[in-house]
């Protein structure tokens, strides 16, 4: 059968298209990041972070901390902890990138986000193979993320009140919690982390409270017997 009618999209385009709705959902978050970054970052720095770091939560936290006058070290440490989950996502997706050369492997790495991980994992379960699917998925997010960043940066300072843009970070954190936290043990660790943040807020600077609570809560979690 030589017909190409009904031929499947290439893995790259399949990943790209499958991720578009998710990417659209991230756009308000990108706009919110750009708007917050406008307080302390130059336009090109705002976009540099979106291109080079390409991790929404870390970018938003960094921009917020800088806007509050934080020193650079807490920002970097918080970013390092917030993004630590990427190690796990990368480890989990690594069988699908096995055997790829440096360039494709590096591209797949840079395109790895919570959202491209979620879409790609579903795609691989449905029979997709290879790094191209992940790269296409990530690129879909990447393009919309860059556009949203520029829109937010341009609108920074002029963002009208009453559209709830202030809630972009909490809403995305809540969504990621429900997407990424599955086991009872993880939920228990989440509760411990919240307790630690509340317990330490009186004497620990806010910039350090979340990193400290994260490390302590995850370590306590190691001692919790695995529930199934």
């Amino acid at each position: 059968m030589s017909t190409t009618a009904g031929k499947q999209r290439s893995p790259f385009w399949a990943g790209f298209v499958a991720t578009l709705p998710v990417a659209a959902g991230c756009a308000p978050f990108g706009v919110a990041y750009g708007a917050v970054a406008a307080a302390t970052l130059l336009p090109w720095q705002t976009s540099l972070m979106s291109v080079a770091v390409f991790a929404g939560t870390a970018q938003f936290i960094a921009a917020s901390m800088l806007a509050q006058g934080s020193a650079w070290l807490p920002v970097l440490v918080t970013c390092a902890l917030v993004n630590l989950r990427l190690v796990l996502l990368s480890a989990a997706i690594s069988p699908h990138v096995r055997g790829a050369g440096f360039v494709r492997r590096a591209l797949a790495a840079q395109m790895l986000t919570d959202e491209s991980f979620a879409v790609s994992t579903a795609g691989y379960r449905a029979g997709q193979v290879g790094p191209a699917y992940l790269i296409g998925s990530g690129l879909s997010l990447f393009i919309i993320w860059q556009a949203a960043t520029v829109v937010g940066r341009l609108a920074g300072g002029f963002v009208p009140q009453g559209f709830g843009l202030e809630y972009a970070l909490p809403a995305s954190l809540i969504c990621l919690l429900f997407l990424l936290v599955r086991s009872k043990r993880q939920w228990a660790v989440a509760v411990v982390a919240v307790g630690l943040v509340l317990a330490t807020q009186a004497w620990l600077p806010a910039a350090w409270a979340a990193p400290a609570a994260t490390v302590v809560a995850a370590t306590i979690g190691l001692g919790i017997r695995r529930w199934t």
């Binding site: 809630y167 809403a171 995305s172 990621l176 997407l179 982390a193 409270a209 995850a218």
Partner: protein, 103 residues
Amino acid sequence: MDVTALILAMAVVTFAYRYAPLAVLERLTLPGWAYDWLDLVPAAVLAAMLCQAVAPTGAAASWASPYLWAALPTALVAWRSKSMILTMATGMLSFALLAHLMG
């Protein structure tokens, strides 16, 4: 530290996270507890940051906080739909509404 240098440092750390497992895991396996610990970090860090983002703090802390109460419908939609776009829309709308109502 210059902001540009900070951004580049963040980028290097983040890329290393993304790239290292792809490069290393063909040959090397981490001990089980390391995977266990990494598995618990997302829950801890997301919950800690969410707490800081929505919990009323400081001297002017009040339970009548739109940040706090908007989290309820947002969490409900996130839990049921697992959809980023629906969750973002619910969060922003309910926050805008509550901020309006609570003044």
